[in-house]
């Protein structure tokens, strides 16, 4: 149970960072932290105490295996996370070229 709570705390740490940080890159890092907490959560829900890697052994069919599906999901989600992070970083670099700053308080053309 403690692992799940830690995982949720990690999510909240990321959320806190997204809300309070003023630096664009730090916001991106906070988003990555949130992302990783979700991946951890997926890895945890597939975990079974005493389970081994899910490669079926014909000699011993009654072994306990961990659930392989969440692992597959995490791999997919990591690839998607890579794409979103790369996209976000590309936009941040462009923003820096336009504004010359990473400070979110100075990037506020759009309102109302």
């Amino acid at each position: 149970m403690i692992a799940y709570i830690m995982c949720f705390i990690l999510f909240l740490v990321g959320l806190y960072g997204v809300i309070t940080r003023r630096n664009l890159v730090k916001i991106a890092v906070s988003l990555s932290i949130m992302e990783i907490s979700t991946f951890l959560f997926f890895a945890l829900i597939g975990y079974i105490d005493g389970g081994v890697a899910p490669i079926v052994d014909p000699a011993d069919p009654v072994k306990t295996y961990v659930d392989p599906l969440p692992q597959a999901l995490v791999l997919t989600a990591i690839v998607i996370g890579l794409a979103t992070t790369a996209m976000l970083m590309a936009i941040i670099i462009r923003l820096y070229r336009k504004y010359g700053t990473f400070d979110i308080r100075e990037i506020k053309n759009l309102r109302g």
């Binding site: 999510f11 959320l15 997204v18 664009l24 916001i27 988003l31 949130m34 992302e35 907490s37 979700t38 959560f41 997926f42 829900i45 599906l69 969440p70 999901l73 997919t76 989600a77 998607i80 794409a83 979103t84 996209m87 976000l88 936009i91 941040i92 462009r94 923003l95 336009k98 504004y99 990037i107 506020k108 053309n109 759009l110 109302g112």
Partner: protein, 512 residues
């Protein structure tokens, strides 16, 4: 098992790939090829709309048959509701792509534009036809990542800022959705929507479900820009190139937001009283606040974007009313009427909001500004734009012969029949304010100043843009025919049936 089903995802993906490869060598290839692909998809979606009706077709990717009635492969499902949304996506997509042929001449890197456009279509089609929760997430990410890039396509200050905001909020939404999926998988040990429904129907832990439902609702609500999560929408939708604004506002928020919310809350979760009240409240809130935020805007695309929030509020509100009636065990007919109104309005909104954004794009294309105060007197010099935008404005404000009137009427009648008089009153008031706001748009953009001699030498926009706008305006008029019972039975009723009767959805998918 219909072998044509995966084409909805495969064709645009292949198209995006080919545009990037061949577009480098052959100029002009990209725009015509993209339009061709979208035309093909639009025809295919119409074909599916006609053949689907009551019979649901299921495609199992890789041919993995269920074992002991437990689905193990990835399922692609085409039912009545899916067919409608797929039609919206591909028809509006085709018209926007055709419109882009002229509009995008001002931008460089057209290859990237059309490739991203095809990717976005692939993602949205994937979300809609997927019968599997994690697949919905994957396709959703494909479509929103392309949307992030397309919002920033102008790479000016405003576009980049809007895209950044959209990405941060969209990222948070994605993680909330992913968490929700994780929690569902933890309890149900499956990801197939029909199978999850089956697993949920046995064990029922109230607080656990409430938590999962809130996660899913806030995640997809952020993607759909329902009221407390709306902050990104006006920026993103007004900064994108106009055909993309039409796609984002007309299609994307429905396909990845509203559609998934309706699908999951009707066909997957057991309908609960608390959630239905929450959904209705959010719908009412966005309906009312959206229109009040819109009326003070002077930037046309921002004005239209705020109206998208308000009109989506109508859809969410009527669906919420339907859920409230079902959860209270009230009359099935009234619940079906409310949901019919919601889905009808969803279709109509795609037509008129897409058209309005294309009109805004035309105005921007000719006179180079989005500020209403600098326009005026365009009615004479741009007759097609003026006429079509008048049709769209009357549709969105609910004036009788046009489609918006009938869907709003159905929503209001359903609210009155369910004895929610206050909600009905609010819907009427919001409709009137919408009318006022579009009167302002019409007056300042097209009439107001006298410009008889045409001093600014304004010409009507080129043929592809006019063509798209005229087809959209014809759709605005024709869609009101959906209110006729014979046509409604063919198009809308299968969707309502599948939503009203979750056990039917489950039995069809598990049974096949």
């Amino acid at each position: 098992m219909n072998p044509l089903l995966p084409l909805f995802v495969v064709t645009p993906l292949a198209g995006a790939f080919l545009i990037m490869i061949i577009g480098r060598f052959i100029k002009e290839f990209n725009k015509y090829f993209a339009s061709l692909i979208l035309l093909f998809l639009a025809c295919l979606s119409l074909y599916f709309l006609f053949i689907t009706g009551e019979n649901v077709s299921v495609y199992k990717v890789g041919g993995w048959e269920p074992i002991d009635k437990i689905p193990i492969g990835i399922y692609i499902v085409m039912d009545g509701f899916t067919a409608i949304v797929v039609c919206i996506i591909n028809i509006v997509g085709f018209l926007s792509a055709f419109y882009s042929i002229s509009y995008m001449k001002r931008y460089t890197a057209e290859n990237y534009y059309y490739a991203l456009f095809c990717l976005m279509i692939a993602g949205m089609n994937g979300v809609v036809i997927s019968g599997d929760l994690f697949n919905i997430f994957v396709f959703l990410e494909i479509s929103v990542i392309s949307a992030y890039a397309l919002v920033a396509f102008g790479v000016e200050k405003n576009e980049l800022e809007a895209s950044f905001k959209y990405q941060v909020l969209g990222g948070i939404a994605s993680f909330l959705i992913l968490f929700g999926i994780g929690f569902i998988y933890w309890k149900a040990k499956t990801l197939n929507i029909a199978d999850i429904k089956e697993a949920f129907s046995t064990g029922y832990d109230r607080t656990y479900f409430l938590f999962v439902q809130i996660l899913i609702l806030s995640g997809f609500g952020l993607k759909a820009a329902i009221m407390p999560f709306h902050a990104w929408l006006p920026d993103a939708h007004s900064s994108a190139p106009s055909p993309i604004s039409a796609m984002l506002s007309g299609v994307l928020i429905k396909a990845v937001g509203i559609y998934v919310i309706i699908r999951l809350f009707f066909n997957m979760f057991p309908i609960s009283g608390g959630m239905s009240i929450l959904i209705t409240t959010l719908g009412t809130l966005s309906m009312v606040t959206g229109v009040f935020l819109a009326i003070g805007q002077w930037d046309i695309k921002r004005l239209l974007a705020y109206h998208s929030i308000s009109q989506m509020g109508y859809v969410v509100l009527s669906v919420g009313i339907g859920m409230m009636i079902i959860s209270k065990g009230g009359s099935k007919e009234i619940a079906a009427l409310a949901i019919t109104g919601g889905i009808f309005h969803l279709i109509n909104h795609a037509a008129f909001k897409g058209l309005l954004f294309l009109n805004a794009g035309s105005i921007e294309y000719t006179i180079g500004t989005r500020d209403l105060k600098e326009m005026g007197g365009l009615a004479k010099s741009m007759p097609a734009t003026s006429a079509t935008s008048l049709i769209a404005s009357l549709s969105i404000s609910g004036i009788p012969p046009f489609n918006g009137f009938f869907s709003k009427l159905i929503i209001i009648i359903a609210a009155i029949m369910a004895h929610y008089y206050f909600l009905a009153l609010l819907a009427v008031i919001v409709s009137i304010i919408t009318l006022a706001s579009f009167m302002k748009f019409q007056r300042y953009a097209f009439f107001n100043k006298k410009d008889d001699k045409n001093e600014r030498r304004i010409k009507e926009v080129p043929f592809p843009m006019v063509f798209s706008m005229i087809i959209m305006s014809i759709l605005c008029i024709l869609l009101s025919l959906l209110v006729i019972p014979q046509i409604r039975d063919v198009v809308l009723s299968p969707a309502i049936d599948i939503l009203m009767d979750p056990s039917k959805y489950t039995s069809i998918i598990i049974g096949q």
